[in-house]
Symmetry: C2
Subunit: 413 residues, 2 copies
């Protein structure tokens, strides 16, 4: 395994590049060069990716995961295109506010980079490039720790990017931890004062581990046990359409719905509709006692079902006698990601949206909309389920902090 | 000691009050009632304070600490006055941004309270009231854990405030952990999901302990090992005036200077001036080898001196051969609070202010200005030395987060 000293040395080298990254021209140029280099070195990258895929298949990695690992001509093109898009976003750095005190002191509040950011992620190699583009765009350096399945791909991608950056003497701004041992994660998590932020992206296990062990600041991402509450005053056709979208349009993502909460007043009608429609779409239903009676295709749910983010064609169903019970259920089991109410009643909608503690609360719309691109951020690093610094979809601004620059002529207090 | 269950029950009661605190009228009324009640119950509060002071004197608590503990008619009046000032600040909650997507979805970004905030602090009883006013103003509930020296005072203050709040049925929004055992702190720090933020205020030991042990989010405050760098192009008269102010105007606070860094080019003149002026003001000087030769009143410094926040009439002195060495010294020993350069050279000032990583960087002004009131925030909860969520002086906004409310008519993705 890499020694702590080796990681520290790489981190120090990354930090040494930060002053040069304050220059917007350097950052713009860096992203342009990376975008071009990815396409110019297509063969090298794709053949490294083939090597990873062969290894993954030999080790019996599931085909869904192999697909996430796979790069094609088209996918590489779209990765390079995303770098170009990030380059075109407004500069997140610079003077945010400037004012002069009565004593003549000029105070400037500057948006500045956080510093050295570590990304810890799993199979998808596009994260290697996306994360690099977003961290460089915001003036930060990045330490990448990808999954072992993508080792050769990530190594090739980072080699190509570093070589592109070397024309600007900025190669040390991007560093891949080649050690695929998970223990190296714990070393990164302990580098307080050397790493300014860790962003974990991946499964629940990884995120939990990072949050529990980090001595460095973390932005927690992605856990989404999202609920859809069908209120007694819901338009049931509308509710069904939203439910189907929230569950089956892409079950593997964090903004998909995992539990349907149905008001008892509309359960006899709505649960029958949901049972028919969802079972026809191959969604497995796990229903509480009351719902079970109304849903012929459902199996009984357990306590654990309500706490589970399936990321799959499975839906838990809970019946409640009113909005308070729905809100209480979400408070108990929700992960503060995205929650929806289906209702035509304004007061009920406002009650729900004020009381449910989540990054995004919806009235009569699918939870699937929680996304940086949809919200107009131009990009997304992840979806934060914490309340401090970043909440919900976050992008460039969350990779910055601020600094007060104060100009005087000898003022004293 | 209080059981975990007892603390959890209090925290749940506090959380139950949160919906009522969303109403701005309730919050305004709450602060008005608290301000009035403090004055109406003056005798009760002051006599409780006397009891604390007697206890402190019996136990030989140093007189500086006794003074921080002391309440007088005048001090209580100014505490009540501060509550009134907080009440008059603009509401930190509400819609921050509102936009409609092409598909008709209305997205509103709302500033919302964090939830239940725990304040862990030491002797000063004014924190009990200040923290309550600021957390309530921003719609949060507060769990207070004060120091044992102020036990009777804090108990009286919280009793008076809760009784005032009971007229609005909001008494559970403020709770004092009566247990003065330090172990109760660790219970609070582990209440992930129940406490939304912990703010430690006090000595380095307390803050370090909180940061190291917290499983809940923390805003780290107050450690200030601040430097003043006298560049070779400094106006030395100006520099001396700023140095004296930064060191002796109030040595006990976190924005006071602890180390003078002097460029060798001006050391023969400036260190002699500083030696005379500061020794006449009873400042103890701890100088490195080169400085020692120029400062007849100084003692030799050790490595530890440069890492120490004295909070006292002591100044460490370091000589450097140029700005790079000054910046490196600050990177090594600084606490990212406030750092100053004294120079008439624009390029040197910009170099220093861009490269020094701190919440506030000064050119030709005293570090003592780092303060929420001075910066125009109308109040201050503390000075954050971390980069995420809050940096530098922070007030109401840092006690909020945001929530996206999304209104649709059945939109799906």
């Amino acid at each position: 395994m890499m020694t702590v000293e080796q990681l520290q040395e790489k981190t120090e080298r990354a930090r040494a590049v930060l002053p040069a990254l304050l220059d917007e021209k350097n950052r713009r140029c860096a992203l342009d060069l990376i975008g071009q280099a990815l396409l110019l070195n297509k063969e090298e990258i794709l053949s490294a990716n083939e090597r990873d895929l062969e290894g993954a298949k030999r080790q019996g990695v599931p085909s869904a995961m192999c697909d996430r690992l796979l790069l094609t001509d088209e996918r590489l093109l779209s990765i390079a295109e995303a770098v170009k898009q990030v380059a075109l976003l407004p500069d997140p750095l610079g003077v945010e506010k400037s004012y002069t005190l009565e004593n003549g002191l000029l105070i400037q509040k500057h948006r500045v980079p956080l510093g050295v950011i570590a990304m810890i992620y799993e199979a998808r190699p596009n994260v290697t490039v996306d994360a690099t583009a977003l961290t460089l765009k915001s003036g930060n350096a990045v330490i990448l720790k990808g999954g072992k399945e993508a080792f050769f791909t990530n190594t090739a991608l980072v080699k190509v990017m570093r070589s592109a950056l070397s024309a600007l003497h900025l190669e040390d701004a991007v560093y891949l931890v080649e050690d695929t041992d998970r223990a190296v994660v714990d070393v990164l998590l302990a580098m307080r004062g050397q790493i300014d932020l860790v962003i974990p992206r991946g499964g629940k296990g990884l995120i939990r581990h990072v949050v529990d062990h980090a001595k460095v600041p973390v932005i927690e991402t992605g856990a989404g046990n999202c609920h859809l509450y069908v209120h007694e005053k819901a338009d049931l056709q509308k509710a069904l359409k939203v439910l189907i979208n929230a569950k089956v349009s892409r079950p593997s993502v964090c903004n998909a719905a995992e539990t349907l909460i149905c008001d008892k007043a509309v359960a006899p009608v709505f649960l029958k509709m949901a049972d028919e429609a969802l079972s026809a779409l191959n969604v497995e239903l796990r229903a509480d006692e009351q719902a079970l009676l109304l849903m012929p295709h459902a199996d009984p749910s357990t306590e654990e079902d309500f706490a589970t983010e399936y990321n799959d064609y499975i839906l838990a169903v809970k019946t409640v006698s009113g909005i308070e019970e729905a809100v209480a259920h979400i408070a108990k089991y929700g992960t503060r990601h995205s929650e929806a109410i289906l209702t035509e009643d304004d007061a009920a909608a406002e009650y729900f949206m004020a009381r449910v503690d989540a990054a995004a609360v919806y009235r009569n719309a699918s939870t699937r909309f929680t996304d940086g691109g949809v919200f107009g951020m131009g990009a997304e690093i992840g979806i934060s389920t914490q309340k401090l610094h970043a909440r919900g979809p976050f992008a460039l601004e969350a990779l910055t902090t601020w600094k007060y620059k104060i100009y005087g002529e000898g003022q004293v207090r």
